[in-house]
Symmetry: C2
Subunit: 148 residues, 2 copies
DNA sequence: ATAATTACTTGCAAATTGCAAATAAAAAAA
DNA sequence: TTTTTTTATTTGCAATTTGCAAGTAATTAT
């Protein structure tokens, strides 16, 4: 078969570059990890710290500190859950929602631009392929365990 | 159109997880960046520092230090170019070649496992798609400029 | 009432990163 | 041929990020 590593290596790097651009909003510049955290909180409904950390496969101590930063930036709010005061519910502030939405829109814009270099047919094939790839990775035994 | 960001976000993360596993050889554990550096030196013929740093879009100062680490680990050798003593030619040591090849094989094995969860037809489609995606990104104006 | 778990937070210490500034060699300009 | 400019690479910080070990506080199990 093909040299899989070769093409995926290139893809990974290019995506890394794409992602570098993608997290500055206003004056602030967020890291990729932080943007992923915002994204996850935006999607889920009032998730706990542990929940999001697990989903993103980030060490909980690292995550704790990242959240502290995002709270200081007034993008995220932590509310103790009444039924169990150990857990913190995470929500986005208005600012946070704005930022998360902005990053989402930017990323979609970037991706759309990338896609514009392909034919309609190719675009659909690529989308189908990425979905397949995601499924395959979720079934894989060698990696990618967490995540949805 | 589809929510592109969604599916690519998931893919990016899963690949991040896949890559986490993929860089330990013997007792040593290399970082993803370091494995990319080894890969690049393996592919190219005696590249210079600047060359590899540009290809990988790594800041030259960061790169300089990474190479120092790899030299200490006896995976990379730096030889001053006779015609221009400013530039260092990079080559892999025997150890380095072994490690780079090992990582390459591991990654291919992981990817093959991932691919095993798809049909023959799907596998080919995915490969074609990733190549298309790489081309599209190389044409893109919003990112991914360096790289080959 | 006591012990064991769970959810999260801190205290290090090691890596990684990039900007500014330095060095040293080569090329261009005077 | 000097002098200046450019190029390739290295250091000096200083900020960020990371994970392990150990701690706190709230819950659940015994």
């Amino acid at each position: 078969m093909e040299n899989l590593r070769e093409i995926f290596q290139v893809m990974t790097r290019r995506f890394g570059l794409l992602n570098k651009n993608c997290c500055q909003v206003g004056g602030e510049e967020l890291s990729l990890v932080q943007s992923h955290i915002l994204y996850e909180i935006l999607q889920k409904d009032r998730p706990s710290m542990q929940q999001v950390a697990d989903t993103l496969a980030i060490d909980i101590t690292t995550f704790s500190r990242q959240i502290q930063t995002l709270v200081k930036l007034e993008l995220v709010k932590k509310t103790p859950l009444p039924e169990d005061k150990r857990v913190s519910q995470l929500t986005l502030t208005t600012q946070g929602k704005y930022v998360a939405t902005k990053i989402d829109a930017d990323m979609n814009r970037y991706l759309t631009e990338v896609f514009s270099h392909m034919s309609e047919f190719e675009q659909e094939m690529v989308i189908r392929s990425v979905k397949l790839l995601n499924e395959a990775m979720s079934k894989s035994t060698v990696c990618c365990k967490p995540l949805i």
